[in-house]
Structures are given as C-alpha cells and as structure tokens.
Symmetry: C2
Subunit: 192 residues, 2 copies
DNA sequence: CGATTCTTTGAAAACAGTCAATCTGTGTGG
DNA sequence: CCACACAGATTGACTGTTTTCAAAGAATCG
C-alpha cells in the first residue's frame, strides 16, 4: 500500500531509500467504507492525509442544513482540513468517503519533523500548498464571473477525472448551482 | 519607509538586527499613483510585494472585457500574483493602485535566499500562504452558498477596513454581484 | 426484486442582471 | 471661486437566469 505513496513521491522529488523509510515509518493507513467519515465538523484535524485509493469529499453544512462541497480528492491527491490543522480550532468541514477508500495518514508533528530533516520534502509540500492556493483563486474567478453552463464546462475541463465519478448533484453542489439547473445545463449542451 | 515593514515583521516574528538589515538590503520601494499599474496582464511577476501605504487591487478581465476583482490589499498586506511567481508564466491578473501607494518589493530569488538563511522568515511566509489559502476556501463557501445580501454582510464583517475605503462597485465586483444589486441590498439593509 | 438514491421535467416564483436615466459628490481647469 | 466634467451611486422597469417545489422516471445496491 505504501508503494502508491512511494511512487507518487519519487515521481515528484528525489528521495533516498533512507528518507523513504523514514516516511514509511510515520505512515498509517486507514480503510474507509463508502459514506464513512474521515473528519467530522467540530473535531480537531491533526493529520496529513493522502488518498491511495478511492474518492473523498470535503463539505460544509450551512445554517439551513444544506451541504456545500469544497473539494473532491481521488487517488494521488491530498485531503484534510488545513484550517483546523493550522489553527488547532475545531474543523468547520466534514470529510467523508464517496467510495471505499484507503487513506495514508501522517501526523502533523511527525511530518513537520520530517520536513526539517528532508528539505526537498518541505519544499515539495510548500509547493502543493502554493498550487492549491492558485487553484482556489481560479475557482473564485469562476464563481464570480461564470454562468452555470460556463461553470460546468470549466469543471469538466479542469477536473475530468471527477466528472464521471461522483454523483451529478455533488458536482452541482461544488459549483454552487442547484442539481436541477445542472441537469438542464447538461440537457442544453447535449442538444448542441 | 522600511520602518513600516520592520514593525510588521518584528510584531510577527523574532528577528535579529542583522537579519533585519539583510532584509532591508534587498528591499526596494516603489511609489504608485492612483490608477497606476503594479502588474499588467501578460507580464511575468517576479516579486514579493508588501503594501506600506495605500490600497491595491488585483483583478482579471474576462472575454467580454468585464473586470473581476480577486483581492484588495491595504497597508500591512501582501499583494502580487502567486501563480505567475510560481510558474513563471505570464500573469492572468492585473494589479493597480486604488490610491496613491507605496509598495515594498523584494525579488523572488532574493527572498528565497533569505528564507534559507532565516528559517523563522521561511516559516512565517509559509504561514501567510497557509492563511491565504484558508481565506480563499472560506470565500469559496461564501460564493457558492450565500445570497447577495449575505455576501455583502460577510464582507463588511470580514473586511471592514476595505468596506469604507473602496468604491462600492468594486466591492460588488469582488463579491460577484452587479453594482445595482449591491446598491439595492444596502438600501434594504438600511430600512431594517 | 424492493428500497434508496439520483436524475429529469414542468410550472411558478424569487432573485439577480441589464439598460437607461437621474442624482450625487468630487475634483479640475478656466 | 464657479462651472463643468466625470466617476460613482441610485432608481425604475424589464428581462432572463436560477431556484424552488413537486412529481415522476431511471439507475443502483443490498
């Protein structure tokens, strides 16, 4: 199981066998069944989580009880609640499995220690954060400037692996449109 | 002028006089008049920019020529285009001054070198990125789940310094609503 | 299969956007 | 100092998109 993470890492950065061993030592695996929570609102999140298999979703619940999806994560993606991880405050988000999944977990402190010892790893993790930020910014632009149809087109272009893998109403939730609207948008598109 | 940045830094992290000197050495100041560009779409952004005085705005222009504001930055905030900085690609964003402003600039490579020498600084910059990401995520939730009124209320709550400082139609642009809608929302709120 | 979850469809209502005109305040040049 | 121009804000009427609610149909899973 660690091989997936190992392959991921070595395809991105150079690590010695020794360093990989160190990383393996702090890695813990967790199997999740579909619908099972990885993190529940109100709990404090102290992990770094890498998806080895399956598909996860991060979402928040508003005052009226409606769910809003912040992110999807499939194989070779990271997931978790960075805000809770950073501040130590209870998470505002929930994370659960959309499919049976296997998650690799590394405790916050352990990964921080490793990052000190392995500068390449530190750099790499920082890079991921940087990219995540860029993705967020682009998503904001989509949110504030695209029509429902443009949002969906942009989604299947930027996240094609997700589009056919998760229920449609969840994509609608991610895009901030109603499931009915998404259904109609797709209908329109098919006619063209 | 460097005092502003110095105060900012020392209020956040501990730095020796020597380290502060090193930082001062790589700092360059740029005065901008209202409406003047700090970065124009298509140029590559290679700086770290800290606002010492004034107010800046980051925006993108869509296919139809409409402007969409990504961010505001006032005193003691950072600005810039992280995507262009990271990838080396031409910027998709414009940054200009909403007021006469003074910006402190540090070249990408120079700040990176300093970060290697001053771990506390590296940590701190990473923290800012982390926070920026969290802010982005919260903004996405607002985008996909709030009504126009809620968006505005959330804005004056989370960015009160900005609300009375920039033209209303720019706030509308930032929120992804039309200036007329924002005007009406404010009108409604006043009546209550 | 039966039950649940998911998607689609229709009709009505709510919401936000557009266009155009007017109003307000500010700053600049004569 | 005034007049004018200009940017910004407001208002009204209209349009259009999206949501909501409700119901029916399709797909999936135990």
């Amino acid at each position: 199981m660690f091989d997936i993470f190992r392959n991921y890492l070595t395809s991105k950065i150079f690590l010695t066998e020794e360093e990989l061993k160190m990383i393996e030592t702090v890695s813990v695996f967790k199997k999740l069944r579909k619908r099972q929570y990885l993190l529940q609102e109100g709990d404090v999140w102290k992990m770094n989580a890498f998806v080895c298999q399956g598909c996860m979703r991060t979402y928040r619940v508003d005052d009226k009880g409606a769910e809003h999806i912040l992110n999807f994560a499939v194989e070779n993606w990271w997931t978790g609640d960075r805000e809770s991880l950073m501040t130590g405050n209870p998470a505002k988000s929930n994370i659960d499995a959309l499919e049976d999944s296997v998650i690799l977990l590394i405790e916050k402190e352990r990964l921080e220690n490793l990052s000190v010892q392995i500068p390449a790893l530190n750099n790499f993790l920082n890079n991921i954060l940087q990219k995540s930020f860029n993705v967020s910014q682009n998503r904001i632009i989509a949110n504030i400037s695209y029509t429902a149809e443009e949002k969906y087109l942009n989604f299947i272009e930027t996240r094609p692996e997700i589009a056919n893998r998760v229920p449609q109403h969840m994509i609608a939730s991610y895009l901030g449109i109603s499931p009915e609207t998404l259904s109609r948008v797709r209908n329109q598109m098919a006619k063209k």
